[in-house]
């Protein structure tokens, strides 16, 4: 299978529309004033399961053959992809087997349980995840749906920014958080096909800056002992996501945790919406780089809103 085309992204969009929300673009005059820019926020915190991951998961599950579907799906995930895959499987009435680090936030564990995903816990390393996943797949015959090294996932995530370009024009920069690169590569493709003048920027936690270094040195670095509050951005590029991002993204910019928390608080205070730290990094990057973003029209993707309300970072 080749890199997703404009047509395959359009088909993915048609396929998932019934099972996803078309999320709004919101803006805040006070945040614009602070940033000195015109920022539109794509509110995927309002998406089904509270994160953009529902797009890719729905597209992946809906693209399986009926024989594959019967045995269910499996994945490893820090949380939102797991919840999304569980819900997508539930929609098709098939099992979802989820391998999850035992350190995942309890709200994300709970969400998977709510959508009837079957959880197996593992240690919080990429290696441990993959080993446990292989065992689960061997035992069940389920189809492994990688959280991002999968073109059906990338197509699904690409529908997010396709909607942005349908709803808004003349965007100078579109900023997507980067963990494993599923959303960022989907963003790259949709920008390339639907708004080629828009520059794509990845926003990455300084404490998990493997993608920044990978792009700089043109090789994939694994994510080793990442330390950041942005628990959705702990993974590293895969071959498929690196290949797309490397060719189409303008750059990756990092922000540290204190900047992420300040941006998160600003959005909560001014916009009265709940976003998770992994989403706040997009605004953190804008606020830290006025030289680049001042006076520009920017879209920040607010990727999710799954926060443990008992453990807020302020």
């Amino acid at each position: 299978m080749n890199i997703p085309s404009a047509n395959s992204i359009k088909e993915a969009h048609d396929k998932i529309t019934r099972y996803t929300h078309r999320t709004p673009l919101l803006s805040s005059s006070s945040i614009n004033k602070i940033a000195g820019a015109n920022i539109e926020f794509k509110c995927e915190n309002f998406q089904k399961v509270g994160a953009f991951k529902m797009r890719g998961a729905a597209n992946a599950v809906l693209s399986l053959s009926s024989d594959q579907l019967k045995k269910g799906v499996a994945t490893h995930s820090s949380g939102n992809h797991a919840a999304a895959l569980s819900l997508a499987a539930k929609i098709k009435n098939v099992p979802a087997y989820i391998v999850m680090p035992k350190t995942a936030p309890s709200i994300k564990k709970k969400a998977v349980g709510e959508y009837q995903g079957k959880i197996t816990f593992c240690n919080p390393t990429q290696e441990a995840r993959e080993k446990m996943l292989n065992e689960v797949v061997a035992n069940t015959g389920a189809t492994f749906i990688h959280p991002y090294d999968n073109y059906k996932i990338i197509e699904g995530q690409a529908t997010c920014v396709k909607e942005v370009f349908e709803d808004s024009a003349n965007i100078d920069y579109i900023i997507s958080p980067i963990g494993g690169g599923g959303l960022l590569s989907g963003t790259c493709l949709s920008a390339n096909y639907f708004s080629p003048a828009t520059k794509v920027v990845g926003a990455e936690p300084a404490g998990a800056d493997d993608a920044f270094r990978s792009l700089r040195d043109n090789r994939i670095y694994p994510s080793i002992n990442p330390e950041t509050i942005a628990d959705g951005l702990l993974t590293s590029f895969s071959e498929k996501t690196f290949d797309i991002v490397r060719r189409c993204a303008d750059r990756i910019i990092t922000a540290d945790d204190s900047e992420i928390i300040a941006a998160m608080r600003l959005i909560w205070d001014r916009m009265k919406i709940i976003i998770e730290p992994s989403a706040a990094i997009t605004l953190a990057v804008v606020l830290q780089n006025p030289g680049m973003f001042s006076g520009k029209k920017i879209c920040c993707i607010l990727t999710g809103g799954n926060v443990d309300l008992q453990k807020l970072p302020w």
Copy 2:
């Protein structure tokens, strides 16, 4: 001046449109499932200053003569009306003198300061507020804009539900929190003029149930030592609001603080939006009265989103 007419509410709406947001109606399939009802939430937490109060304040300020305007405006308020009046005055470049209980949440004090309102603190009783207010008015010549015993305020608040009826049809119940009754009486009028088949319900904290008792006994009870987390709902009916609510509301239903907090948490968790306790009471009332609301189409007004994020009630 007489009770506001349909036309005066329409005029108020035209007048304030430039200075207010047309807030969205949102819904949540998971909350609908829990409630067994079809609920639309009118999101005034997204309103300017984070609360519906901007509507009434803007209408009141924009209705003053230029001679009145020059000397500014004054009010006593537990917070959102104070912030709204400060912003409305700032728009017209005149001073706003705010008498505020010293116990008001710091986020609300801060908001008034941000809009350049001039604060005088008083003890947290209705009597102390009024005494201090009289002094301020005597010293400055400012026009007193009562938070709700003022038809211009009531007209402004009525525009909230006017928008609801423009954006949605066949609503069985519209539920508004009740403190002093400004929003509830505006809701009564708009329902009466624009959707007479819709029943209006007031939602009141059990620890501040003066309005419930006032309606039951057909006389205004003052609010004495109210105890509730819903800090926007501590005041009591005025002559003007009681007169309208008494004639047009279906009933007032109370909920206790634990029910308010549970409803607030549910909205934060499921809808990823930030609302204050005073707003959550509308959903609390629905969830506590399934016999009345099950299977119905309901609009709950989410009146505001000004919460101290450092002091959440869970």
